[in-house]
């Protein structure tokens, strides 16, 4: 099947006072139509930067190289007007914190309609569409429309931003940390909604550090460490046994497994080593790990892993 989104050799660096922060190095991923891809990693590993690059939401002090194609169209050098036509209609974002991404001083009805009109819907069409969408999410447009964001619970706010993202019937929805700060009930609800979005046929890119959410959403998983993809493959293979030592140690840190931390810290993004970035913390380290950066090698079960252990296979 052909790919919907193709990210190829994408590198993003921020020029800062302390030097260039290499937020993303040579990342390549593809998403097929209707597929769900999870991007997992600790804070500072480059996950949010990936989402923001796809949507061209990066600040000015940034250098981007590589290629991002949506349905064959290159997005990185698209003029702003063209980009606006892609954003929201073909590609939509569910932002990290619904409470702070909605306007606090406007009623939600106006904000929802504005989002729908920006996707090219007429007033009447927009109302019908929003009413249907919200009803599917268990909300009523009239009830929601007359309220301000602070008058809704966290779960309702989440559903409002989901509706906003879906109103343009995008080919791909990007959800950035959809569960951060939510309690167990809301995580359940969010997971169910994300699965529903996926079931409607949209591709889904979920950025998260929540491993439990990842396990429940299944699909495919890309694990990021220190700006690089270190493992990519079916989510279920990852949870059954990660191919990369970092993945394995990360799962051991889950409180329901061993709750054991990985010794040491991830390298600073301003001073990434010229060898495997995990080598200094890796229990399986051998000589070659300190010499060069491993490629993504094929591991069992259709997984690719950036570890020399798999190089000899």
């Amino acid at each position: 099947m052909t790919s919907l989104l193709e990210v190829e050799d994408l590198s993003v660096g921020f020029r800062t006072r302390r030097g260039v922060v290499h937020a993303l190095s040579h990342a390549s991923v593809t998403i097929r139509p209707g597929e769900l891809l999870l991007v997992v990693g600790e804070s500072g590993s480059g996950k949010t930067v990936l989402a923001h690059t796809l949507l061209a939401l990066l600040p000015r002090n940034v250098d981007v190289s590589g290629s991002v194609r949506l349905g064959g169209q290159e997005l990185l050098d698209l003029p702003p007007a063209e980009l606006r036509r892609v954003r929201g209609r073909r590609m939509a974002l569910i932002p990290q914190s619904p409470a702070s991404s909605l306007n606090p001083v406007r009623k939600l009805g106006g904000q929802l309609l504005e989002a729908a009109r920006a996707r090219g819907l007429r007033e009447k069409q927009a109302r019908t569409r929003l009413r249907e969408l919200l009803a599917e999410l268990g909300l009523d447009l009239e009830f929601i429309g007359g309220r301000y964001v602070h008058q809704l619970s966290g779960g309702m706010q989440q559903r409002v931003v989901n509706a906003m993202a879906l109103v343009g019937e995008p080919d791909i929805v990007i959800a950035d940390e959809p569960t951060s700060g939510l309690d167990a009930d809301l995580v359940d609800a969010t997971a169910a909604q994300l699965r529903e979005i996926s079931a409607r046929g949209a591709s889904l890119l979920v950025i998260t550090h929540d491993l439990r959410l990842a396990e429940r959403l299944a699909g495919r998983l890309a694990l990021l460490y220190a700006s690089r993809i270190v493992e990519v493959g079916p989510t279920m293979s990852f949870f059954a046994g990660p191919a990369h030592p970092y993945g394995r140690e990360l799962l051991r840190a889950l409180p329901e497994r061993e709750g054991k931390s990985i010794p040491g810290l991830a390298p600073e993004l301003t001073a990434l080593p010229g060898h495997c970035a995990f080598a200094d913390r890796c229990p399986d380290r051998f000589d070659r790990c300190g010499e060069s950066i491993p490629d993504l090698y094929p591991a069992p079960d259709g997984v690719l892993a950036r570890c020399f252990v798999h190089a000899e296979r």
Partner: protein, 257 residues
């Protein structure tokens, strides 16, 4: 022992009184690790702030090693406040953005008897605590926006411990962190807790984490001494409570298609 006895607290809200907690009692022993769980809006953070003497309750009493607290907030005796320390949920908001990490860690000691007079001793004290929570290199010279959330939370932990408390309340210490950073932070707390006989109250919405890390776990909804009928009546009155009830009903529908 740090004890909360039948604590009640309500807030003014546009829709009337919002009852955050109603006659909640909790006891934390020295050297114990107690977990406190409950959904958002159930009053966990309110109870934490009252037990740390930052917020005055409407009713009930807080006792620290037998001493009853009767003045709250900044006017409370410093010696008493130092005995119970709170690590807040969001380190980015909890730390003054204009202080370097090193300054932030020593800030609670300003003008206190524990603060060493000489610059050298101060630097030594800072180094000791920084090493203890795993802050190395030039991190102490950086501003909060120049470090990661995990590193900043480590500084907040050091900041709470530097006044040598007997009880430490961690309010969602790690909910924003990835699992490995969370495990590392909790390993640090566990080591210091064991060494200093610290009583630790770990507030979290992650039941799995609480069960794994704590000796005992309490659900805030079960700590109230009021009966069930009353609880429902209160929930119906309070906005947070009502939303929780509403939401749980709604979620069951959402999760079971």
């Amino acid at each position: 022992m740090l004890s909360a006895e039948a604590i009640t607290k309500s807030f003014r809200a546009a829709t009337g009184r919002l009852v955050a907690i109603d006659r909640v009692s909790l006891e934390l022993e020295c050297g114990a690790r107690l977990g406190l769980v409950g959904p958002s809006g159930s009053g966990k953070s309110t109870l934490a702030q009252i037990m740390a003497m930052l917020l005055a309750p409407d009713g009930g009493a807080v006792r620290i090693d037998g001493d009853r607290v009767d003045v709250w907030g900044v006017r409370c005796r410093r010696e008493l406040r130092h005995r119970v320390q709170l690590v807040f949920q969001a380190p980015r908001v909890a730390v003054d953005p204009r202080l370097r990490l090193g300054e932030a860690i020593l800030e609670p000691l300003a003008a206190s008897a524990i603060m060493p007079a000489g610059a050298e001793e101060r630097a030594e004290l800072l180094q000791t605590w920084a090493a203890r929570v795993g802050l190395t290199g030039d991190l102490l010279e950086r501003f909060p926006h120049e470090v990661s959330e995990g590193q900043l939370q480590r500084a907040c932990l050091a900041r709470a411990l530097v006044v040598r408390p007997r009880y430490l309340i961690c309010d969602e210490l790690s909910s924003m962190l990835d699992v490995s950073t969370q495990a590392a932070l909790l390993e640090t707390v566990a080591a210091i807790q064991a060494e200093r006989e610290l009583g630790v109250l770990l507030i979290t919405h992650d039941r799995v984490l609480a069960d794994a890390w704590c000796g005992a776990v309490a659900d805030i909804r079960e700590l109230s001494t009021r009966d069930e009928a009353e609880a429902v009546a209160v929930a119906a009155q309070s906005r947070a409570g009502a939303l929780n009830v509403l939401l749980r009903g709604g979620l069951r529908r959402a999760t079971r298609p």
